[in-house]
């Protein structure tokens, strides 16, 4: 099942409640055949590619650069949104896709080379993360995006063997939080970590290894968002004959404070007669195996094309 959410313009500002409701609203597809053709394989490749990227909210630059390379002629505004304009004249409409994710930045580098983290997003302003969100880091590989490139690391976990006999039955079993996350990049000193290009504020995420399973099911962190953005990208690549003007915006900072990315697009390029946001239903949301059906993404592409062409 898929959804295209609708946000009504209210005097140039977006009503957050309406927007949220719109995000959740599902529009079932009609059985109309697509007018524009897109290759399923291309969509799958885009979805896998987007799902393997990291775009910690507010620090989406790398993914933004990739999108700009994908769409020659697109522009990046000062906030970081990627926009491109299709067609001309009226009506003037906006189709968006938020590309950011809840993630982490390096908060401190310890003298022995371990890194400590601060979470970015998921704290309630944009969307509250699952109580187990941070626990997904424990004992797993992460990527630190340093000034000299991506640096692999792992988040420390107690060795199973050394916990034996040290806790009595019935003792507390608290979840792992980011405050317990020590990132080990193999460095033996702060200087060695810094030599890898790591500094405070470097983005950090779970190592992204999207997994395809079942019948075109895609599992990855934020797979729902990434597959929805892939559907929007595939629709643009299908070169629709748009009705009037359609601004396509891949927006940033949707998960932090005031959703500044989308607000900026509206302020800079609006007003718009209609606004829609790409969204897909996802299983196991907010986990490392958030799962979307790429068949739903196929339908979303068709629906986006219909909307753009005013059918």
């Amino acid at each position: 099942m898929l959804s295209i959410s609708t946000m009504r313009r209210t005097g140039g500002l977006v009503d957050g409640r309406t927007a949220k409701a719109g995000l959740l609203a599902c529009v079932f597809l009609s059985a109309l055949p697509p007018v524009r053709l897109f290759a399923q394989g291309d969509l799958d490749r885009l979805a896998l590619r987007f799902a393997s990227m990291t775009a910690v909210t507010g620090l989406e630059q790398a993914m933004v650069d990739s999108l700009r390379a994908l769409f020659p002629g697109s522009t990046r505004d000062h906030v970081g949104n990627v926009t491109l304009t299709l067609g001309q004249g009226s009506p003037k409409r906006l189709f968006t896709c938020p590309l950011d994710e809840v993630g982490y930045v390096v908060g401190n580098i310890l003298p022995d080379g371990f890194l400590l983290l601060r979470r970015v997003g998921g704290g309630g302003a944009g969307r509250t993360a699952s109580p187990l969100f941070d626990q997904q880091l424990e004992g797993h590989r992460v990527t630190v995006f340093g000034a000299r490139g991506a640096v692999p690391g792992v988040v420390a976990v107690k060795s199973t063997h050394l916990t034996r006999g040290r806790s009595a039955p019935g003792t507390p079993d608290p979840v792992f939080t980011v405050d317990n996350a020590y990132v080990d990049v193999g460095a033996t000193s702060a200087a060695e970590a810094q030599g890898l290009g790591i500094a405070v504020l470097a983005p950090v995420s779970l190592a992204k290894r999207p997994q395809l399973y079942g019948e075109r099911l895609l599992a990855a962190p934020v797979a729902g968002r990434r597959a929805a953005c892939a559907a929007l990208a595939a629709a643009v690549q299908a070169k629709p004959k748009v009705k009037g003007t359609v601004v396509v915006a891949f927006t940033v900072q949707s998960l932090y404070t005031s959703n500044a990315g989308l607000a900026s697009v509206k302020a800079l390029l609006g007003p718009f007669d209609d606004t829609k946001t790409a969204a897909l239903p996802a299983r196991y949301a907010d986990t490392a195996v958030e799962t979307v059906a790429l068949a739903d993404a196929d339908r979303l592409v068709r629906e986006i094309l219909q909307w753009m062409e005013g059918r």
Binding site: D65, P131, A156, S159, V289
Partner: protein, 361 residues
């Protein structure tokens, strides 16, 4: 900040491993063997692919045999006293115990580990026809607890019949995808370093062994089902009986070299060499033998630490036959997790210790 992000790779998909320009020939050799073994799957009782990988990596002169338990043997040299060197092939994981109506797989654990490390992560079901991808299901309740309820796997089938049509059946083993990845310096991460490092060190030692120097027979064994109770070693010990004089279990020294571990014991930092695992939960090495091992290391100039840690080792199955267990380990961070960390210098040190023991003790 902008430069930081711009410079960051678009993808977090990194080359699985690289050879640093600073890598010595020895480090490169150890890595080339280890990476292949780490990226091969072999849950306890299903070690076949790892055993075949070890056989492929043996020196051409080595004649191997597989016993009825599944252990792989290579005998080198002649005469008494016979010395056994043993590392295990298997890794922790799961086994399918049932398939629900909705197509999800019920599991039992094989070996001891923290189950939350697998929750909501990618899964692989290992079948004779190849691996089937899936996901370990996240819990639907108990969000304030670290430990999840028993884990299940979803292969996207939707029903028992469809799952079975895809080739899934009870008894198959389940793990998560794994990858050998280099970290800073000579460090590396991956899953199942326990005990692919031991298996690697035995291979490297064999490749470099001076067979003419051997004064007695040395039996190299790659054992099965260690993680579920030292079962392969038990079979080998029974077969050899009182013949061996010593056994050297080549296995993990679970290290407290981490900011979140207690420093009471198991203090053997990674990167400082192999470790005489003098006392664990299964065996105590007689002090005179520890001293001898240290002397062997000194005579050869091999880095060796001495310590005590938790866990059992294959050699302990030989001790009821009057065989002295002198385990040699290497320090490992985050044991039995998907992100174990080693230092390749320790792998080289471990291989050198095995070779020294075979040739001189």
């Amino acid at each position: 900040m902008r430069a930081v992000v711009v410079a960051a790779a678009l993808l977090s998909v990194l080359p699985p491993y690289r050879l640093s320009a600073q890598d010595s020939t020895r480090i490169a050799e150890a890595q080339s063997v280890l990476a292949q073994l780490v990226e091969t799957y072999g849950v306890s009782g299903a070690e076949g692919p790892v055993r075949e990988a070890v056989k492929r990596l043996l020196p051409s002169w080595a004649k191997s045999e597989t016993d009825t338990a599944g252990n792989l043997w290579v005998r080198v040299g002649q005469g008494s006293p016979v010395v056994v060197v043993i590392a295990h092939l298997d890794e922790i994981g799961f086994r399918v115990t049932g398939i629900r109506d909705d197509g999800t797989l019920e599991l039992e654990t094989r070996g001891g580990f923290i189950s939350s490390l697998f929750e909501a992560k990618p899964a692989l079901v290992h079948t004779d026809q190849g691996d089937i991808a899936g996901v370990f299901l996240p819990r639907d309740s108990g969000f304030t607890r670290h430990t999840p309820p028993p884990l299940r796997v979803d292969v996207g089938a939707g029903s028992r019949a469809k799952a079975m049509a895809r080739g899934v059946s009870p008894g198959q083993t389940v793990t998560m995808p794994k990858q050998y990845v280099r970290l800073s310096g000579t460090r590396a991460t991956g899953r199942s370093f326990d005990d692919r490092v031991g298996a690697t060190a035995q291979l490297v030692a064999l490749r470099r062994l001076d067979r003419a120097a051997l004064k007695h027979q040395v039996i190299f064994i790659w054992s099965v089902r260690e993680e579920i109770g030292l079962e392969g070693a038990a079979a080998a010990a029974t077969a050899l009986g009182t013949t061996p004089r010593r056994v050297h279990a080549i296995d993990t020294f679970v290290s407290a070299d981490s900011p979140i571990e207690l420093p009471n014991f198991a203090v053997a930092p990674i990167g400082r060499g192999a470790v005489a695992r003098a006392l664990d939960n299964s065996s105590i090495t007689p002090p005179a033998y520890v001293d001898s091992l240290v002397q062997v290391a000194r005579a050869r100039g091999v880095a060796l630490q001495v310590g005590t840690t938790n866990g059992g080792n294959d050699g302990s199955e030989f001790t009821p036959y009057g065989v002295v267990d002198v385990p040699i380990g290497w320090p490992l961070r985050y044991s039995h997790s998907p992100a174990e960390v080693i230092d390749l210098k320790d792998v080289v040190s471990l291989a050198d210790m095995i070779r020294a023991v075979a040739e001189t003790w």
